[in-house]
C-alpha cells in the first residue's frame, strides 16, 4: 500500500512538473505581448505574481493595448477570472484547508491545478492524491509561469517595433489558442461566433474595450437558454415515462 502511494506520488509530481513547463511556454508569450502592448516589465511581472490566471492577464493587456479604458480592461479581466470561483467550489471539499493556507490555496486555484486535482479525486483515499496534485501543479505552474513571464518581458524589451515582428497578430492568436479547447460542441461554437459578431458590430460605436465587455450578455443569454433547454428535456422525458 505504501509502495503504491510512492509510485503514485512520483507520477503526480512528474505530471505537475510537465504541466508547469508547458504553461511556462505560454508565459513567454504573455510576457512579450504585455511589454509590447505598453506595460512595463514590473507591471507585467506583478500581473503574473498577483493575478496569476492567464486568460485574465492576456485580457487586461489586450484591452489596454487596443486603447480601451482602464475600467473596461479591469472588468473584462475580472469577468474572465470568475471561473476560478467555481474551481474553488470544486476543490474546497478535497483540500479541506483553513486560515492562511486557504488564502494561498485560493491564489493557486486555476485551470491547471483544478484539472489535475480533480483527475486524482476518484480513488477513496481521503483526497490525498488530489491535495498533492493541486498543490504540486499550482506551485509548479506558479514558478514556471513567472520565470517565463520575466524571460518574455525582457526579450520583448530588446525587440523594438511590435508590428515589424508581427506581434500585433500574436495577440489575437493568443486569444484563439486560449478559447480553442473550450470549443467542443455546437453550443460553444454558437456562443463564440455570436460574441465575435456582436463585438465587431459594436466596435464603431463604442470606446475600445466596451464591445468586448458587452458580449458577456451573450454569455448570460446562452446560460439561461441552456438551463431552459435542459429543463424542457427533463420534463419531456418525464412525460414520456408516465
Amino acid at each position: 500500500m505504501i509502495h503504491e502511494w510512492h509510485i503514485r506520488r512520483r507520477t503526480i509530481l512528474l505530471n505537475a512538473l510537465s504541466v508547469g513547463l508547458a504553461t511556462g511556454a505560454y508565459g513567454i508569450s504573455f510576457g512579450a505581448i504585455s511589454v509590447l502592448g505598453g506595460l512595463t516589465v514590473l507591471q507585467t511581472q506583478t500581473l503574473s505574481v498577483l493575478m496569476f490566471t492567464g486568460g485574465s492577464q492576456f485580457a487586461l493587456v489586450g484591452v489596454l493595448a487596443a486603447g480601451g479604458g482602464a475600467a473596461s480592461a479591469v472588468a473584462t479581466s475580472v469577468l474572465l477570472g470568475l471561473r476560478n470561483a467555481f474551481y474553488g467550489v470544486t476543490m474546497a471539499p478535497m483540500l479541506n484547508v483553513s486560515g492562511p493556507t486557504r488564502l494561498v490555496a485560493a491564489q493557486l486555484t486555476i485551470d491547471e491545478s483544478t484539472a489535475m486535482g480533480v483527475a486524482q479525486s476518484e480513488e477513496p483515499d481521503n483526497f490525498h492524491g488530489s491535495k498533492l496534485a493541486f498543490w504540486a501543479t499550482g506551485l509548479s505552474v506558479f514558478v514556471f509561469w513567472n520565470l517565463a513571464t520575466f524571460a518574455g518581458a525582457m526579450g520583448a524589451q530588446a525587440l523594438g517595433d511590435p508590428k515589424v515582428w508581427g506581434l500585433d497578430a500574436a495577440i489575437p492568436a493568443g486569444f484563439i489558442a486560449l478559447v480553442w479547447p473550450r470549443l467542443h460542441d455546437r453550443r460553444s461554437w454558437s456562443i463564440a461566433l455570436c460574441a465575435g459578431a456582436v463585438a465587431l458590430i459594436l466596435t464603431p460605436f463604442l470606446r475600445p474595450g466596451v464591445p468586448v465587455l458587452l458580449t458577456s450578455i451573450v454569455a448570460v443569454v446562452a446560460g439561461v437558454l441552456a438551463v431552459r433547454r435542459r429543463t424542457e428535456q427533463i420534463e419531456s422525458s418525464a412525460v414520456g415515462k408516465s
Binding site: 477570472g81 486557504r102 464603431p204 458580449t215
Partner: protein, 104 residues
C-alpha cells in the same frame, strides 16, 4: 500612480476575490444551474470577442490587414494540434512576412 498601475492592481484584487469566493460564498448561490451555465459561457464569449476585435479593429475602425492572415495561420496550427507558443509564433511570422514582402 499611473492609470495602468491602477488597472493592474484593481484587476489583481478582483481576480483574487473571485478565487477566494469559491471557497467562501454559500454553495447554493454558485450551485444554481443558471449561474454555472453562464460562467461556462463567459470565457467563450469574452475570449472570442477579443479574438474578433484584436484581429479586425484599429481603435473604433474595422480593417482587414496582416493580422487576419496571422489568425488564419493560427487556426491551421491549432487544427494541427500545435502547442500554444507555436500557434502564437506562426501567427506573428505570417503577419511579419506579409508585411515584409509588401502584401499587407
Amino acid at each position: 500612480m499611473s492609470t495602468v498601475w491602477i488597472a493592474v492592481i484593481a484587476a489583481c484584487v478582483g481576480c483574487y476575490i473571485a478565487k477566494l469566493a469559491g471557497a467562501s460564498v454559500p454553495h447554493d448561490i454558485l450551485d444554481k444551474p443558471v449561474v454555472k451555465a453562464t460562467s461556462d459561457a463567459i470565457p467563450i464569449a469574452l475570449l472570442s470577442a477579443l479574438v474578433a476585435v484584436q484581429t479586425f479593429a484599429v481603435g473604433q475602425t474595422l480593417v482587414i490587414d496582416a493580422r487576419f492572415a496571422g489568425l488564419l495561420a493560427a487556426v491551421v496550427a491549432l487544427l494541427l494540434r500545435a502547442p500554444f507558443i507555436v500557434v502564437v509564433l506562426v501567427a506573428a511570422a505570417t503577419a511579419a512576412a506579409l508585411r515584409h514582402f509588401g502584401f499587407a
